[in-house]
Each structure stands twice: as C-alpha cells, then as structure tokens.
Symmetry: C2
Subunit: 438 residues, 2 copies
C-alpha cells in the first residue's frame, strides 16, 4: 500500500488527459507531496493508496485548476475606474495617468494579492502576467498559495519601471535569474506590443527566452489601429512583423490576436505559437474578436485570458469559457463550434501546452503537479446535470468553486482562502482605493 498525503474523491473527475472523454465517474486522486500520485476509479485508488486525509467531495466535479494566459493582475485596483469609453480615451486619460501616479512595489504587491484571491476563489490556479515590479507580484503569489508565470514588461520608452530599453532588459534578467529554478514562479519575458517595441527589442527578448528556456509573451493585433500602424512602419502585418524578429515560435503566447488575417493564422500554426484569446476585454473595448473557430480549424493552439480587471472587469476564466463558446457560435453562425469540452481544454491542458508546461500542468495525471479544483454542483442553477462539460461552461459560476489545491496544498476550502485573511485583503484594497479616488 502506497502512502498519499491527501486523497480526494468525487462523483466526477475530469482529467483533461488522453484521447478519451476524460470523465471518470466515482473517482479519486491521490496526492503525494506536490504531485499527483494516481488518478482513477475511487476503489482502484483506495486499494493502491492509503492516507490519513481522505476528503470526499460527494457529487462535485474535480478537475485541473484553470489557467489564465493573459492578465495584468495588479490593475485590479483600477477595476471599474473608467468604463464605456473608447480604448484611446480609456488608456490615455485614465489608465496611464493612474499607473504613472501609483505604480511601485507596494501597489503591485497589494493589488496582486487581491487579484490572486479573486482568481483562486474562481478556480484559477495559474496566471500569465505582464506587468512591472515582478518581485512584488511574486511575493503575493507565494503568500496566497497560487502559481504564476510572471512576464517582465519591456518597452522602448521610459516608465516608472525603467528609463530605457537596456534598463528594462537588465532588470528582466535579474528577475529571471532569481526565479529560474523556482517551484511556483516561472519567469517570462514580455515585450509589450509591436507598436511599443522595435525589432531589436523583440530579438533581444527571443534571445533571453531561448537562453533561459522561458515563455515569451506579447500583445498582438489587438486593434485595427495597430495593424495599420505596423503596416505603415514596417510594411508587414503584426504577426509577420514579430515573426521577422524570430518571436513567433513555440515559446510565444500572443494575447488578443483580434485582427489576424488568414496568412497570419497559418503562420501561427506553422510556428507553433499560441494565442491567448481575451473575448470579454475585446468586446468591452470594442476592439473586435479573434477568429477562434478559424484558428482552431487551422491547428493553432488557442487558450483563454481575462486581460486586466480594468478592462473586463473581472478575472474570471469560467466566464471567459462561457463567453468564448457562445460568442464564436454567433460570429461563425455555427452552433457546433467551440463546444463545451473544447472550452475546458482551452482553459486547462491547452493553456499548459502554451506555457511549455505540457508535462506538468493542466491535466490530472500521475506525475503532474497537484493543481486542482472542486466545483460544487449542489446548487439550483447547477441542477439537474446531464453533461458535465456543458455544466462547467454554460451553467457554472466562479462562486461554485468550493476547494482549490495548488502544488499539493489546499489554498481554498469551502470557498474561502486558507493562507490569508480575505477581510484583510479587501480592507487593504479599500484603503488604496480611498487614496486613488481623491
């Protein structure tokens, strides 16, 4: 009999692994240290493993933690500060001035803590961030017990984070070295966008990504304005432009990709680059919508991101799953596209693949990290249940997440955080908001 630290059981387990449906009825997962020891039918697992902690989640659904592949976590303190405005007004008159005034280690640490709490309570166990002051973000990620890929933002102009391109890269490399072998934080290099980063900057980012074997993250083709601007500057469309700098490769996760044409979509497929589709942010800013049905048809790996809470206004990946599945039926006129299981894959296994973590994350599988969530189905809006994937995508809400484990450690129990005080996190946010409001 093998020893497990924790065994969790439930009527439904979705492994998101292998070629079958991946739905185990009356299953169990054995957790050994920070990894999954085994998963299968409850009777099989319980005859192979013993544990002092066997948790029975009854009728619920156990599944891999959700992965948010594009956000700016600390912007959560600007949630709802400016809405129903054109992107340019929103960014130039509201968000950039607020960032210029408030950004720094204290702000990023405290704001990231709130973002992590919101995400964990919504079943998001890993997020890919693009921001500044990454050490402050890392501190909060670890405190609350989450996992993150922290992208160090690079710009070709000065900001509160650095004075020039060289300084951005120097700081990035210090950060990357610090977290190179970290178990929880994966560093990432994040040139901001084609209109803010020249070809040399993308090339340097690629070199660093290769040197350390880490993901590279950028905004790409978010607005029609950007497409026109890049064509006028470089005589190429945005995806062709970053490809010309070598940045469209297997390590690339490009956020938005709203305006990719057919050739650019094929280029993504050929290069093995991934898309972080952010439907709700793109809708709210009226930027347009990525052609996800087409991308999938052409073999592009598509994942889901919330973007920052200043443009969404939440960090709820379940919500993005539902929006993606519904939106692309509407846009393509075909109710069979992005079916429910596809949306779940985009938010779990396919997201892990995008981050280069295909052998450790996004699936419930022996040897993988023990990042998993439990979804309560014992609620009126979750009753009755005929199909578990349909339920997750079309009926479940963030508030149905009852239990979350990251790296083998329970971090949300009965919907509430285990390692921090939710009241204190909210109180700290409200204190900051008082000052920001003035």
């Amino acid at each position: 009999m093998k020893k497990a630290d924790i065994i969790i059981k439930a009527e439904n387990i979705l492994t998101m692994s292998g070629n079958d449906d991946g739905h185990i009825v009356n299953g169990a997962v054995a957790i050994v240290g920070n990894k999954i020891g085994g998963v299968g039918k409850a009777e099989a697992i319980l005859s192979e493993y013993s544990s002092d902690a066997v948790i029975d989640h009854g009728k619920s659904i156990i599944m891999p933690g959700l992965i948010n592949t594009h956000t700016h976590a600390a912007m959560v303190y600007f949630r709802g500060m400016a809405d129903d405005l054109p992107l340019k007004t929103w960014l130039e008159e509201h968000i950039w001035p607020a960032e210029g005034k408030w950004l720094g280690n204290d702000f990023v640490r405290d704001a990231t803590e709130l973002a992590c709490l919101e995400m964990l309570q919504a079943g998001v166990t890993t997020f890919l961030d693009m921001y500044f002051f990454g050490d402050a973000s890392a501190e909060s990620v670890k405190k609350i017990g989450m996992r993150a890929v922290l992208g160090v933002g690079i710009l070709d102009f000065p900001s509160v984070a650095a004075q020039n391109t060289d300084e951005y890269f120097e700081k990035a490399e210090v950060f990357i070295k610090r977290y190179e072998d970290d178990n929880i934080i994966t560093p990432c290099i994040a040139p901001h966008a084609p209109y803010t980063c020249g070809p040399d900057t993308y090339r340097r980012a690629v070199d660093i990504s290769e040197k350390y074997g880490i993901p590279i993250h950028t905004h790409l083709s978010e607005t029609e304005w950007e497409v026109n601007e890049i064509i006028s500057r470089y005589k190429m469309r945005p995806a062709e432009y970053i490809d010309s700098a070598g940045a469209l490769n297997r390590r690339m996760i490009a956020a938005h990709c709203v305006w990719l044409d057919d050739k650019e979509i094929d280029l993504f497929a050929e290069r093995g680059a991934s898309v972080s589709h952010c439907p709700e942010s793109n809708m709210k800013l009226a930027s347009g919508s990525a052609r996800v049905a087409k991308m999938i048809e052409r073999g592009v790996n598509v994942t889901l991101g919330t973007d920052g809470a200043a443009s969404n206004n939440d960090l709820d990946v379940l919500g993005e799953m539902q929006t993606a599945s519904k939106l692309h039926k509407l846009l393509s006129g075909d109710p069979t596209v992005i079916d429910a299981r596809r949306s779940v894959m985009m938010a779990t296994a396919h997201a892990a693949d995008a981050l280069g973590m295909q052998d450790s994350l996004g699936r419930i599988k022996a040897g993988f990290r023990a990042d998993l969530i439990v979804v309560d189905i014992n609620k009126p809006h979750m009753t009755p249940m005929y199909d578990v994937y349909s339920h997750l995508v079309y009926s479940a809400k963030a508030s149905d997440i009852q239990y979350v484990m990251v790296d083998g450690i329970p971090v949300i129990d009965n919907g509430q955080p285990v390692l921090v005080s939710g009241e204190e996190v909210i109180a700290r946010a409200n204190e900051w908001a008082e000052r920001i409001r003035e």
Copy 2:
C-alpha cells in the same frame, strides 16, 4: 412619526427613478405593507418612519428587483440535456420529444419551483413566462414568494396542452379570469410565433389582451429561417405580419427580434411595442443578434430575457446585462453603447414599462410595490468600487445577491430561500432527472 413594517438601509441605493443618476449614498427604504412608503437619505427616512425591523446592509447596494422578460421557466429541467447543436436538431430531436413525453401539471409545478429558486437567488423578482399548465406554474411562484407574468402559450397545432386553437384560447381565458385580480400573478396571452400562429390567432390574442388589459407575448424573428418562411407565406416580414394582425402595440413584448430590418425597428418604435432581447440564448443557438444599439437609437423600449435554461443554460439576468453591454460594443464597434446604467435600466424600469407596470414596478419609489434586492459588494471580485453601475454590470455575479424582498416579504436572506427548503427543491429536481435520463 409614520410606522413602517421594515426599514432597510445601505450605503448605496439605486432608485432607477427620475431623471437624475438615481444613486442615493447612505440611503434607506421604508416598507409599508407590500409597498414602498418612502426612499431617501437614511437620516430623512429614519426621522419620518419608525419600525421594529431596521435592517442595515452596510456597504451593499439596494436596487429594484431584476425583471426577466422572456423565459420558459419549466424547461430548467432540460438544462444541458443537448448543447452545441443546430437549433433544428436541438428542438426537433431533443427538446420537443422531451416535452412531449414529460409535460404536465406535476412536471411544470416542480420544474418552475427550481427555476424560481434559481431566479430569486440571482435577484430576479419578476419573470415573464411563456409555457403551458399555468396553474401549476402559479402554484410554485406563490409558494416561493416570487412575482410572475404567466403567458399562456397558443399554437395552431395540437400539443399536450390542447387539441386545437379553440381549446388553447378557451383554456387561456379560464386562466386569465382566475388571475385577473391577483396581486402576484399577472396573466398574459402568448401566441407562440409567426410560423406557428396564423393571422386569426394573433387577432384573437389581441382581442383578449385588450379585453382584459393584459400583456401579449410572442417569439419574433428569432432565426433567418423564420424571416424567409414568413415572407414566403405572407409576403411580409415577421414584424409587419404581426402588425397586420394588430399585435404590434403597447401591450406587446416580442422576444428575440434578431432579424428586424430598419423598417421593422421603426415600426416597433411607432407602435410602442417592446423587445425582449435574449443575447445569450441567441448566441448559443447561433441565431444572430438583435441590433439593440440601433433599436435604442430609434426609441424602441428594449428589455432583457434569459430564454429557457435549455438554451442558455441559466436564468441569470445579471449575466444577460453583462453580455448585452459587452456584445453590442463589439457588434457596433463603439465602446460607448449600452453603457452600464442603460443595462440596469433595461433589466428594471424599462422591463416594468414593457409589462404595463410602469406605475408599480421596476423602480424604488413611494407607492410602488416593495420588490427589491441587496447586492453584496464585500467580495474580492467586487473590490474596489469606483462606480456602482459599472460594478453591477461588469463585475457582479448572481452569487452576490444577499437579500431579496418581493411584495414586502423577505424571500431570500443571506443568499438562501426563506419560504422553501433549497435542499428539497434540488432533491425533487434530481429525482425527475433520474427518470428523464433513462
């Protein structure tokens, strides 16, 4: 000093009444019997009214109960039974056979109970239903403490509800007379759709609507197929067709209206008919999207519906508000359309106007029915708050509804039903689902 049965206080009250913003900071509402006695600043209300029950909801938001202007409540028992399918397959191979097999008084009573519980917990205090076996629906609506406008479905072909058009109308009139003076149930006549009801049927429905002064409800222009079908049958588009039967009038609430052309939109505005926009159902079935920005620009009264849970898959009006505000920014390319306050109006005051209840519902105003909800903002995803309307539309979830009052009676407290047992409602639904699944 006047006597109030209950006084409820909170930092934020949205009255949705009058020409100003309608946001009272530190306000209170005095409830006298089943009506609102007064609303205003807390100190003013507390100096005018005394009560043995003064409930302080702290930082929360008090607002009118949400109104769902199109659903088929009892279909909630078919939630998630068939998804990611074309409308025709979904309807003809899954939904109609299931309805044919299961529909009856017991099914409708039990299923409506589950739907009402889901809606009440999501802050929906009134719904406009189109279905059959209305007495069974009414029984559950009253038991749980909700308010409803129950539309008796009329078809020109036999179903489990009646054998022919005459019988549908006879049963409808019996139902209407029974609830004519009811305080909670408003009867409504509901010819199903242009492709299932001939011109005589619409004319008879209009006569009944006028005779009893009740709303008339229909599906209209949901799919492109319907438009082509009606043109080929009557040489008119669907809105022109029902107008030719006199049915496009102030009492009409037409669901979907996806394919209205400019002339039909203007016809709606001229006749004073209302639209029940069901964005999520239309997206999920790939039916298309109503041109809501245009409708509002032309002066049409637009409200929000969830449609039945078999095609949505929930009954969550807050979710429709968020989807409507985001979707029409995307479709129009203009991030300023359907701003947050507009979405709240669509789900409250404008919905009451559509139902002919402009003098009693949808606003917090002296003399109006005491139907109101309290939204908890003390959650990570609701922190910080800069704008109350933005928060409701872009951040709030059904699970943030902490307290619901209908007709002066508290029916949800701390998120849980007061008058029924949620566990029993869920257990009953699961028993039915066992049989349906076989």
